[in-house]
């Protein structure tokens, strides 16, 4: 446990010093501040009416930015460290491989998750100063969804870092994975598939398997509980899962994917050459 905490701490400190973390923090802080300043989420007639509209917009933007950022920075730093010879030295110290791998994963998770949550808290604080009601249930579920999404892509990132032997290959693969999942979002490929006559069960199965789509649908559900925006597929989701069931799926499923990917990454890391 001591080695795990030491590795996690070292990784957190390393990330806090890096430029990507600064940009990452500015982006998420900037999104929230930008949404408040420009008033994009406010009603034209009523003005600021509460946090719900802002949170939905924030989550939709986060869905586009967070996975890509997590994937690219994780694979870049882990595969890059190995390529630069940092693993050769640090793994010549008596730190356990499990402590090293999971310590890096936990350290990175803290760093990835912190700015996103701080931005949410900033929004809550601002709403509170405006005297608006805070939708605590929404805030908590959104936070859980963000944890789940971040962990999922962190796991995928750690797996890719283990598989790719160079930082460039790792980065290219990360981008391809992100692009692939983006293609299977409802608005793009699922629309084409529907038009091509693929069975609705297959389309819904793909939508339920894609962590990005799961996150997207769940975040919409909090704003639009009947999923009117989704059209007929909403019936399948609500009939089979119910609102709470789907929210539970949206939180648990990406976490499981993240664990499975990182566990496979750890297995390969432990079995192969370390530097």
């Amino acid at each position: 446990m001591k080695h795990l905490l030491l590795t996690a701490r070292a990784d957190i400190n390393e990330s806090l010093r890096s430029r990507w973390f600064l940009i990452y923090t500015l982006i998420f802080g900037g999104i929230v501040v930008g949404l408040f300043v420009t008033g994009l989420t406010e009603s034209r007639i009523m003005g600021f009416t509460g946090l719900s509209r802002l949170l939905v917009t924030y989550l939709q933007i986060t869905m586009a930015v967070l996975p890509l950022f997590v994937l690219i920075t994780t694979v870049r730093s882990v595969a890059g460290d190995r390529e630069a010879g940092i693993f050769e030295y640090l793994l010549s110290l008596p730190v356990g491989l499990a402590a090293w791998f999971w310590g890096k994963m936990i350290g990175r998770f803290v760093v990835v998750f912190l700015p996103v949550v701080l931005a949410m808290l900033l929004a809550v604080l601002w709403a509170a100063t405006k005297g608006a009601d805070i939708p605590w249930r929404q805030v908590l579920i959104y936070t859980a969804l963000l944890i789940s999404l971040a962990w999922c892509f962190l796991g995928i990132g750690m797996l890719l870092s283990t598989l790719a032997r160079s930082a460039d290959v790792a980065q290219g693969s990360a981008f391809l994975v992100w692009l692939f999942l983006l293609l299977f979002l409802d608005l793009i490929l699922l629309g084409v598939m529907t038009r091509e006559g693929i069975s609705s069960e297959s389309i819904i199965a793909i939508a339920l398997a894609n962590p990005l789509q799961v996150f997207r649908t769940a975040s919409m559900m909090l704003f639009d509980p009947q999923l009117v925006l989704l059209g007929p597929s909403a019936y399948v989701i609500l009939d089979n899962f119910g609102e709470n069931g789907y929210l539970a799926w949206a939180i648990v499923y990406p976490v499981v994917i993240g664990f499975l990917c990182s566990a496979l990454g750890y297995f390969l890391f432990k079995r192969g050459d370390l530097p």
């Binding site: 001591k2 400190n13 390393e14 890096s18 010879g85 793994l91 010549s92 110290l93 008596p94 050459d273």
Partner: protein
């Protein structure tokens, strides 16, 4: 203490180690020499449990990869190329001391002995230090804790003569209780530090020999070099070794570490045409060697 039994390693189609059989006992100081690509680094990485390999690598009866952590607690490692770590010096030392369960103050103390005030660099990223400072710090991590196996890849290459002498003295303190593996592509760089030489070529052991070296690792030699004429390039070279010009213009005097004499003679050989005489002797003793 260390056994390599029929150890082979292959990267895709390239075989880097070809069934290496080697035993290294406690108190042995082994020079692992060979040209680039001979397999030295791969052998060391197999020993450190960083590479998987066929055959068996054991340290004290424990298999290197499956008992990695237990074995690495006993190993001090100095790589040839310092890693480009961005972490500050203090963080590196506390991380190393933390995972090694040792006292960070011991590491600072070794750094002090080597002439590096690590505390004054504590907030500086490791990667921003000079080559010599990085080497001193890595040596401090390796020697500033309890270990009975030292694995070093050209450890003294970036050190100034004074720091090398202190480094040799620190190694002398460990030589009775520890085994040492010192890797280099040049034997003259490490010959004085070792009592056994193993040469690798294309992944095979092509030489395994004992070295009978009577020079004490902690010793110092008084050196006096007489030139046939003045030369500014020679002057700047020997000044780096801490030499001073004698009142007579053509005589330079200074001290070198005993194990450094081959290295020093190698430097002098570049100025062979300028030399009139060289003498090396222990301080306040009769001449050991004199060429006049």
């Amino acid at each position: 203490m260390i056994r390599f039994d029929n150890v082979s390693k292959q990267f895709r189609r390239t075989k880097v180690l070809n069934g290496i059989d080697l035993q290294i006992g406690q108190g042995e100081r082994l020079a692992l020499v060979g040209s680039n690509g001979a397999g030295k680094t791969t052998l060391i990485r197999c020993l450190l449990g960083e590479y998987t390999c066929s055959g068996k690598v054991t340290v004290g009866g424990l298999e290197a990869r499956s008992h990695r952590t237990e074995i690495l607690k006993r190993v001090g490692f100095v790589p040839q190329l310092p890693p480009p770590l961005r972490m500050p010096v203090a963080q590196l030392l506390s991380f190393a001391a933390g995972v090694c369960d040792s006292d960070v103050e011991q590491m600072y103390a070794v750094a002090d002995q080597l002439g590096l005030d690590a505390r004054s660099f504590r907030h500086q990223p490791f990667v921003k230090l000079s080559g010599g400072q990085k080497q001193k710090l890595l040596i401090s991590v390796a020697l500033g804790r309890e270990c009975d196996l030292l694995v070093m890849d050209e450890p003294a290459a970036n050190l100034d003569p004074e720091a090398r002498h202190i480094f040799f003295t620190l190694l002398a303190g460990k030589q009775e209780n520890a085994a040492m593996i010192i890797s280099s592509h040049r034997l003259d760089e490490v010959a004085a530090l070792v009592n056994r030489v193993v040469e690798l070529d294309m992944g095979n052991v092509v030489l395994d020999d004992r070295v009978a070296d009577q020079v004490d690792m902690e010793s110092l030699l008084e050196v006096r070099v007489t030139l046939i004429r003045e030369d500014s390039a020679f002057g700047s070279t020997v000044r780096e070794w801490g030499f001073e010009q004698h009142q007579q213009d053509l005589v330079w005097q200074g001290q070198i570490a005993g194990p450094d004499r081959l290295r020093f003679l190698g430097v002098l050989s570049r100025y062979a045409g300028l030399l009139q005489g060289i003498s090396m002797q222990p301080p306040a003793k009769a001449k050991l060697a004199s060429i006049n």
